[in-house]
Symmetry: C2
Subunit: 122 residues, 2 copies
């Protein structure tokens, strides 16, 4: 069973965290054919934190997990913090394959997203 764990930074503003949770729900509707389990999690400041998000996926029956950083830049959070937390959590689940996806800014699709969003300005 494949799981997708969307990880945002986490905000003191609950509305921002709720947007990420809603986005994970939308992902469930859009890629249920590719991922059996989808959860949202946060690096800090909000629940669910990454280790608990990984546990949720495993409890739901995941045998492999893609951790998807919802970050635009390859800052310290993407380069160090998320990999460190995943590496610290991995030994608790030796039979589960956990991989980290690139940050969003690295995608070729970002160009299209930027131009479409700019053109939506009112």
């Amino acid at each position: 069973m494949k799981a997708l764990l969307l990880i945002a930074h986490g905000s003191r503003r609950q509305q921002s965290n709720d947007e990420v949770i809603v986005l994970a729900e939308k992902l469930k509707l859009n890629c249920a054919d590719q991922y059996d389990i989808i959860h949202a999690g946060f690096l800090e400041l909000a629940e669910t934190l990454i280790p608990d998000g990984i546990k949720k996926c495993v409890d739901d029956g995941a045998t492999s997990i893609i951790v998807l950083p919802y970050f635009l830049n390859s800052g310290r959070h993407v380069v160090e913090d998320i990999p460190n937390i995943v590496n610290d959590t991995q030994p608790h689940y030796p039979s589960i394959d956990i991989k980290i996806a690139p940050h969003l800014g690295a995608s070729d699709l970002m160009m299209e997203l930027l131009i479409t969003t700019a053109n939506a300005a009112k």
Copy 2:
């Protein structure tokens, strides 16, 4: 002349800021047919700040400017800080039409970007 001003948060890590500047350069190559002038700017912590970015666009001959927030969530920066700075700057250029685009997380294309990025995990 239409200008696009890409605004990221700004980081103490210069590599993150450089990524935004490179992204603006890529945008120049990809939407020169839609925008005559493209610059990158930052909300804080890095040069160029938003008022100077707007000035750069005007100095280059812009008659309209789209400010494009390079942000994923509708946090305080998107909802208050960027609009406040743009509103404070606008009176200096009464003949220039300055609009703010939605944040990236609001786009329908985000779904596609997320799924493609997840599938790129190695």
